[in-house]
Amino acid sequence: MVENMTQKQQMYDIAIIGAGVTGLAAAMYAGRMKLKTVLIGFPPGGTIATTDWIENYPGFISLSGKELADKITAHAMEYDIELVSDTVTEVTRQKNCFVVLTAFSRYPAKTVLFATGTRHRKLPVPGAETFEGKGVQFCGLCDGPLFQDKTVAVVGGGDSAAKEALILAQFAKKVYVLVRGDQLTGEPVNNERVARNAKIVVVPNTGVTRIDGDTSVRKVVLGAPYRGSKELILDAVFVAIGSVPMAELATKLGAARNEKGEILINRRSETNIPGLYAAGDVTDTEFKQAITGVAEGVSAVYHAYQYVTGEFVCTCIDLDYLDCPVASQDLRRAPS
């Protein structure tokens, strides 16, 4: 039997939820500010780790998403922070404290930063769920080599769809991009790359209404005919129709959201709940980029630092299961 790391119960200044670039950059700043920090997230690197190349992060002309995440992780780990690879199941608020629960542990904290990002939006058509993992896929970079010389389709019209098509075209013999609108709406540079790629066929003004197959996907039924037929024979469908903010746990705490389900934040990355912050793709920021998420995360940490050091935050009085070495210090700061 091997040893394993033990988790000591103690009060953190900040618990950052989400191990993508936003959370990692926030953790790095929190470490620099000497905040007692735990970063909890799964998977390491977050969504960007499944991106083939990043060309719009300042300082790096081109690098893979995994490389960027690894670099920020390494930078963060230069400081005294705790990195936990786990999924958060619940966040509760007790007095002014937060308690972050995971499958295997709990982390009491004075402040919490949600950097939980988004999950893939699923295609709401018959067959999509049945064939998920059997030809309905979400990661071209992961699964593209399995479709060498096959025919595949990407469903979606945004930048993610364009990039997914470009990745898949490295392997597949033909890549259809099924766009609901009349054209791709991704970054112009990627749209141009798609247009130049002889393997990629953009099919505008259509969508998928059904996915059929046997042991795996064999065809899709289109909303509008393409070359006289509503059926398209293919081997896989890669879904890139946007994402859903992972804000459920924040909502349970009472965090305000907009109609898209995104957490509302101000320029200080504060939510409507004192001590609760949010940053990155999970928020209502319109232009969602790695760089904007990182900036929001850093801003959140700065204001969390002010909150923790400048105000009465919380004590461990009601959290008597804790070994809480900072309790007495907090009590001295408590208003009389």
Binding site: M1, V2, E3, N4, M5, T6, Q7, F42, P43, P44, G45, A49, T50, S64, G65, K66, A74, S85, D86, T87, A103, F104, S105, H120, E132, G133, K134, G135, V136, Q137, F138, C139, L141, C142, D143, G144, P145, L146, F147, T215, S216, V217, A236
Partner: protein
């Protein structure tokens, strides 16, 4: 062993420097890389051997031992090696961790993780997860993690499986580069990765956290076959 002309996988210098620093800091006990090839080397055998020679040169705690799959068939059988190229990562007390195919690309990270875990005898599993694994793994568990070198999320799942094998004596983990063993891709109907196959009865695909991985193991132990569930 014949020396065929193959493109050598050169680990980029920044990665090599990072791994060497990690080895210097985290390796504790000796690690034996026991590599299986054969007289007429398989398509990827020479590449894998060259790569292992590089890795073994990065720390004096790592040794490489090259075996012939045919001539050393008894040892291969004892180590659970049934195809090549194959690599057993063994600590002073052995281990139940095997790699099949070239552990290159993103999969190189899983190999370095495995070397560190085996050498240090430590994993990153929380105590509660260890307890849960020991509770559910009441009989032999054979985990196959099917991966590709181009898959950036595969090492996350493969590394979890490696840690499970180090934690409980009933668990054996095989990390398989699926492009080199297309018969397995056909057998398990693989159209997405990482695909995890447990005891031939339970399968899942994509990124799953440790708690969910343990639930799949429990299903396998209970003999509850499952289809493929995908998560990413």
């Amino acid at each position: 062993m014949s020396q065929s002309v193959v493109p050598v996988i050169e680990i980029p210098e920044p990665i090599r420097n990072t791994v060497q620093k990690r080895f210097a800091k985290e390796l504790v006990g000796k690690v034996r890389l026991v590599f299986f090839s054969q007289e007429m080397e398989c398509q990827f055998c020479a590449q894998t051997r060259e790569l292992m020679q590089q890795v073994a040169g990065w720390s004096d705690k790592i040794t490489l031992e090259v075996r012939d799959f045919v001539r050393n068939k008894d040892e291969a059988k004892a180590l659970g090696i049934d195809k090549i190229p194959a690599l057993a990562v063994l600590g002073e007390k052995g281990s139940r961790i095997r790699f099949f195919g070239v552990p290159s690309g993103y999969e190189f990270q899983t190999l370095t993780d495995a070397i560190v875990f085996v050498s240090s005898g430590k994993t990153q599993m929380p105590a509660a997860a260890v307890a849960e694994l020991n509770r559910v793994a009441t009989k032999p568990i054979h985990i196959q993690v099917l991966v590709l070198p181009t898959c950036p999320v595969c090492p996350v799942v493969a590394s979890l499986a490696v840690q499970l094998a180090l934690t409980n004596e009933n668990v054996t983990t095989h990390v398989v580069e699926i492009a080199e063993f297309p018969q397995l891709a056909t057998r398990y109907h693989v159209v997405g990765i990482p695909r995890v196959v447990i005891n031939e009865t339970t399968q899942f695909e994509g990124l799953v956290p440790l708690a969910e991985f343990l639930r799949h193991i429990q299903r396998a132990v209970q003999g509850s076959p499952t289809g493929v569930s995908a998560t990413i």
